[in-house]
Assembly symmetry: C2
Homo-oligomer: 196 residues x 2
Amino acid sequence: MTESIDFYFDFASPYGFLACRKVGDLASTVGRKVNWRPFLIGAVYKAHGGAPLAHPLKRDYVFKDVFRRAKIDGVERMQTPANFPASSVPPSRLAYWVEREAPEEMGAFVEAAYKAFWIDGRDTADPNAALEAAESLGFDRDKAMAGAKCQAVKDRLREVTETALERGVFGSPFILIDGDPFWGGDRFADIEALYG
Amino acid sequence: MTESIDFYFDFASPYGFLACRKVGDLASTVGRKVNWRPFLIGAVYKAHGGAPLAHPLKRDYVFKDVFRRAKIDGVERMQTPANFPASSVPPSRLAYWVEREAPEEMGAFVEAAYKAFWIDGRDTADPNAALEAAESLGFDRDKAMAGAKCQAVKDRLREVTETALERGVFGSPFILIDGDPFWGGDRFADIEALYG
């Protein structure tokens, strides 16, 4: 069985978007597969206090930094989702429905949904944005809509989020590799240095 | 006149220590000189709220991450200073005395003092640690001790810290290059990509 890396992210996280584009290559480099783990970063703030980008100075910096980084990565036209920051429950649940339906498509769904938010500027809280991402991969919209509402899928997202907290995840993106924590897409080089 | 990069850091910052070892090479790569700008990160927390590494989960992670990074950088035996986190006023003032006495020695003093804290584990708040770093570079201890107490040096540290806040510096290390902000030693590659 191929070993894996656990890639935790919130769909409302811009650094998560940039990292999701590269985590597949990272996994190949270190000879592992990606476990896609969308979770709700809000649970971290609820559990530990604090708030994401509460400080206006830091928020301004982060957006400057992430758009600059996008250009270096060759990502043109990155933009902030409508209504940001909004709930990322709809795409997260839908991702876990995809995991049940067609696990091999989960990475493709993550990237398609992320693009809808951070390239097309769709609202993460709008269920239609996530559904259209699933449709673009050939999933049936009505089945997807119903699937995202089933209890097993809701439970799965809650369980992944709780497990993330238990494992010490406190940011997005966040990678666990053999229990070793790496916070941020800017730690990919370290992972390659240590596990490559 | 050679253009410069402003390198802001707090002597109590472990990422600042690792960055100080590499900022000279970064400056050469982008054809600039380094303006060494020790400042008091506590002023940021005072002005904007929050606290450094207040969150135990994040603090544990940061130390794991920074010691791991030290090994990748070839730094052996890095350790946390005694009494951490403590004031970094003594080395910061002494750095600005060095700036007045022998500005070309400022980078060497910064590195020597940083090593005393993060390699030898000396207390940042202990004036002897900083004085011995200055002595190791040939400075007279009594002159250095008196110099660090003069009003012009105290004012200089206060002024740099205030200017840092005005310029949007909120972490350590923090680089400003033509007004462009870069937070963290992990942004050196971005600076090279954009200014190299």
